[in-house]
Symmetry: C2
Subunit: 198 residues, 2 copies
């Protein structure tokens, strides 16, 4: 059967993506078959190919759309006039965006190894684009004489790892609200790049 675009795949598409995301996050990409994804969606395995050509395309779509959404959401934030404000905005934005998508964040880190080299290069480029947003804020803060950062690229990667780490422990019914957590992390980020070194 020829692959078709139309109402069928429009309806099934998001359900296929949700099923793939959930199964990849639970079992790992290599352990999940197209048949399992089809069963989770409630369609025949053959019907899946109306939506996606193969499992690799599905993984790539998930990782790429995660990065596209991240970049688009960041670009939609109001422009902050000075570096200190931009850094606070980035810190809070990053924590909120990632805490809402634990499975996508998990597979985006874990399944990089299972992308083809061509697909990996695309995702890697988008990740670098995002890191560069933070790196540019750090460089602006140095230029504005409010931050002291010797290695903006390394610092950007370090701060992003710290902020994404919230996902490994945060529970929405825990002692701290996400707002509290943002504040604790913002205090650390602000101080980590501050000019005071004593």
């Amino acid at each position: 059967m020829a692959r078709t675009q139309g109402s069928h795949s429009d309806i099934t598409g998001p359900r296929v993506r949700d099923a793939a995301l959930s199964l990849f996050a639970q079992h790992g990409y290599a352990a999940v078959s197209m048949r399992q994804i089809a069963a989770e969606v409630g369609v025949q395995a053959g019907a899946l190919y109306n939506y996606t050509s193969d499992k690799q395309s599905l993984l790539f779509d998930l990782l790429k759309s995660h990065m596209d959404q991240l970049l688009a959401s960041w670009m939609a934030q109001p422009e902050a006039p000075v570096a200190m404000q931009a850094l606070e905005q980035f810190t809070r934005f990053h924590i909120r965006f990632h805490s809402e998508r634990p499975e996508a964040v998990f597979i985006s880190y874990m399944e990089l190894r299972n992308l083809t080299p061509e697909n990996f290069a695309v995702i890697e480029e988008l990740r670098k684009d995002y890191e560069t947003k933070l790196e540019d804020i750090l460089r602006a803060g140095v230029a504005q004489n409010v931050f002291s950062v010797r290695e903006p690229k390394v610092t950007a990667m370090a701060l992003i790892a710290m902020l994404t780490g919230v996902n490994t422990w945060f529970k929405s019914d825990g002692r701290l609200s996400l707002e509290d957590v943002e504040q604790v992390y913002w205090d650390m980020v602000r101080k980590a790049v501050s000019k005071r070194t004593d």
Copy 2:
């Protein structure tokens, strides 16, 4: 055949562990069979059961021995008299220890989901033990009036995530040596917990 302890498993044991670690890191636990592990070691699948009762035990052994080594290595560090020195020691130790074991670090994060609840509880306890080492340093620094840390537990988890993140980008043949990287991270850690907040 009864499971035996002896020269055969003494020789094969480390090779089985190395093979399992490498295959789990490459493909994910769920996608790797005992047969594949045996093939990697160069023994019959049946011979593997002289060494390990099942795949779950193998995963648990890998994750537990990683945490046991981490805790033992930290405890073997010379005692630092004041909190500032202890924090620097922890920062440098954590980066070095983890950068030497990228596969063990990767599966220790990624494969937690594949542990049985009983095994997960053991690993979780060891992870908390390690986090508490850093938390205790942060509390000592607050008591010594050299650190300002409102949430020692959250701060410990945040700093550990930041430091472990080195593994996602560091290349030993890159522009910065590991010693350079340690210094950049130590500057950030020191400032992040500093009393200065402007």
